[in-house]
Amino acid sequence: MSMAFVVTGLFLFSLLFGASTGKMAHVSAAALSGAASAVELCLSMVGSLCLWNGVMTVLERSSLGFYLGRALRVVLRRLFPKGGQDAETLTALSGNMSANLLGLGNAATPMGIRAATRMAAGCGGVASNELCRLVVLNTASVQLLPTTVAALRSAAGCQTPLDILPAVWLSSLISVAAGLSAAKLLERWVK
C-alpha cells in the first residue's frame, strides 16, 4: 500500500514540476522511455541472474550447504540461547541463515517464518528480544555473493561485476553489528 503513495506522489510531482518548469515534453517522453528501460534492464539481467541462482542451487544441494548450516549453528546458539534449545527452531534458523548467505531469498523467508512462529509461541503477541534479533538479522542482508547487484552491474556493461565483494562484505558486517548492538541496547529500555 505504501508503494501506491510513492508512485502517485511521483506522478503528481512530475506533473506539477513539469508544468512549472515548462519541461512537459521531456516528462511525457520520459514516461515511455522509462517503461522501455524496465524491459531492457530485465532482459540484460536475466542471463546472469539465472546463472547465479543456478550456481547457488548447486551449492545448496551439495554438502557445502550442509557444512555452512553446521558452522552457523555455533553462532546461532549464542544469538538465540532460548530458541536454540529447540532442535526444530535451530534447524529452521540455520536454514534461514544459510539461504540468506547464498542469496536464495525465496528459500530463506519460509524457514525464517517457521523459526519466528515457533519462537513466538507463548509470547502473547509481544516481540521477545530474540524475535527482534531474528528480524534485525533478516533485515540486514548478509550475502556471500550479492547476485542481483552483480547482475545489475553486468547489465550496465561492467567487466568485473564482483570487484565490489570486499566492500559489500565489510559494509554488511558493519550493518549487522550496528543493528544487533542497537537491539541489545534498546531491549533494556523498551518493555
Binding site: 517464518i113 556493461g157 534498546l186
Partner: protein, 172 residues
C-alpha cells in the same frame, strides 16, 4: 584488485560443480532448476520495475529528483555519502524493487565503475527491504507489539549506507 576479481567467477563455477559432481549430485539439473527459479524471480520483479522506472524517469525529467537531491545534499555530504544516492537511501527500506530500480538508474547513469555507481551497488548489497521483512515475519508470527525492532533495524540500514559510502571511497 581487478585482476584477482576476474578469477572469482571461473574459479567458483569450476570448483562448485566439481565438488557437487564428486558427491554424485546432478549438477546440470541443479543448475537448470536454479536458473528456472531465477526466471520466476525476474518475472516477479519486472512489473514493479516497470511501474517505478516509469515514475522515476518522469520525476527525473521534470527536475524533481534534482530538487530532492539538493535538499538532502548538505546532510548526506556532511557524513560522506554521495548526494546523488539520496533517493536510493530514502526508498530502499520501504521497497526492494523500488530500491533496485533507483540503484539501476544510478548505475546506468554514472557507470558501474564510478564512485556513485559502486556506492549504489554496495548499498543495495548490504541492506534489505526493512519494513517488508518486518511485516512478513511479525505478520506470520502473530506479533502485535514490535517493541524496539524498527529502530534497531533502521540503525542497521543507516550503518549499512554509511559503511557502503566509506568502503567504496577507501577501497577504490
Amino acid at each position: 584488485m581487478t585482476d584477482l576479481s576476474s578469477w572469482v567467477i571461473p574459479l567458483l563455477l569450476a570448483c562448485i560443480s566439481l565438488w557437487a559432481l564428486r558427491e554424485k549430485i546432478n549438477v546440470y539439473e541443479a543448475l537448470t532448476d536454479g536458473a528456472a527459479e531465477g526466471l520466476r524471480i525476474l518475472l516477479r520483479i519486472f512489473p514493479h520495475l516497470l511501474a517505478l522506472l516509469t515514475a522515476i524517469a518522469m520525476f527525473r525529467a521534470s527536475g524533481g529528483l534534482d530538487l530532492l537531491t539538493q535538499w538532502l545534499r548538505p546532510v548526506l555530504e556532511a557524513v560522506g555519502i554521495p548526494s546523488e544516492t539520496a533517493a536510493l537511501v530514502l526508498l530502499r527500506p520501504f521497497s526492494g524493487s523500488g530500491g533496485l530500480a533507483i540503484g539501476s538508474e544510478l548505475i546506468a547513469t554514472y557507470g558501474p565503475d564510478s564512485t556513485i555507481g559502486r556506492t549504489a551497488a554496495v548499498m543495495l548489497g548490504c541492506t534489505e527491504t526493512t519494513f517488508y521483512t518486518i511485516a512478513v515475519y511479525f505478520g506470520a508470527a502473530g506479533i502485535k507489539k514490535l517493541r524496539h525492532t524498527i529502530p534497531a533495524a533502521l540503525v542497521a540500514d543507516i550503518a549499512g549506507f554509511l559503511a557502503a559510502a566509506w568502503c567504496v571511497k577507501w577501497m577504490f
